[in-house]
Symmetry: C2
Subunit: 190 residues, 2 copies
């Protein structure tokens, strides 16, 4: 729980009373590698803070083996199928554990309680949303006016940690190209 506490202390001043309330609602959940934190069609019940591990967000495709990766999250980041979470409707993407994963989760209902009774609740909700929107917006812009090589280089400079743990084929999918194309780009620029 300590990593979570430290993280939100960075986002905003955390008074002890607020923390008391928040911590009461934290649920620890663990998942082993390749398992799903959330499957297609389920309603996202949690917003989660990754204590250890790496997860991937993906949209599985009609014709198998053509799934697309829409995001990754690491230790000390929040993760949720936000679309589904905020609207409490079925998710059209999956959340999958790339490694063994351990998270601290707050359920939708409990988050509402936290909103009502603390100041920090809003910060958690707002900040993790801001971050998401920023990533999505950058991503949109990069699809619209960069080529694959530039997208790769950007990703590499902005999130180098990705390349330590994540298979290249998922990264290829994330930047919107085939593994073959990524392989060629990497050879070209090295």
């Amino acid at each position: 729980m300590n990593s979570f506490k430290k993280h939100i202390e960075k986002l905003s001043v955390l008074n002890p009373k607020d923390w008391e309330i928040v911590s009461k609602y934290l649920e620890k959940r663990v998942f082993s590698k390749k398992n799903k934190l959330l499957s297609i069609g389920q309603i996202e019940k949690y917003i989660s803070f990754i204590d250890t591990g790496v997860v991937r967000l993906l949209i599985p495709n009609e014709d198998e083996n053509k799934e697309i990766t829409i995001g990754f999250s690491f230790q000390n980041e929040f993760i949720s199928a936000y679309d589904s979470f905020v609207s409490q409707t079925k998710s059209y993407y999956e959340v999958e554990a790339l490694t063994n994963v351990s998270v601290w989760s707050i359920s939708y209902k409990n988050l509402e309680e936290i909103y009502k009774s603390t100041h920090i609740g809003n910060i958690i909700g707002r900040k993790s949303f801001e971050r998401l929107l920023l990533i999505k917006s950058k991503r949109e812009a990069s699809f619209l006016n960069e080529n694959a090589e530039q997208r790769y280089l950007n990703l590499f400079s902005e999130r180098p940690e990705l390349f330590k743990t994540i298979p290249l084929k998922y990264i290829a999918s994330y930047i919107g190209i085939t593994p073959q194309a990524l392989s060629r780009i990497r050879r070209r620029i090295s």
Copy 2:
């Protein structure tokens, strides 16, 4: 103000007291065609509801004439440079009036007041965010696993109103292709 009221009544039950508070904070703003509601580098101060007109969101590009369109909004929709608004940092995109435009705006500060003193404030914030996130997410998925023709057809079926008022070159830019490519697609499928 009436169109705004009707709109939020659709989103949630609106009690008279809440409306009294909200309406007090509404500012009418008008822009004539081709003017900007927000320029690059400014901080978005408002969340606005479009009473009449059409606006376009765009990222102007280093080499002129290569700007990219990242969104449109119509009558009875909310519009804001959300990224900038929520984080109160400089916007990297512009909001431009494609026609003469009239909006009802709520400033950041006043929205905080509304949050504190009404229930409807949250609904306004939350719903317009949900909508944005949904559009962005769909868009991301469509860039990743659809070709230009499919993107065009989707857009056409989902937002036919776009094609009545908006120059095709902006639509081309929005779906991520050149006007020439769009022209060819349209010929091919008709």
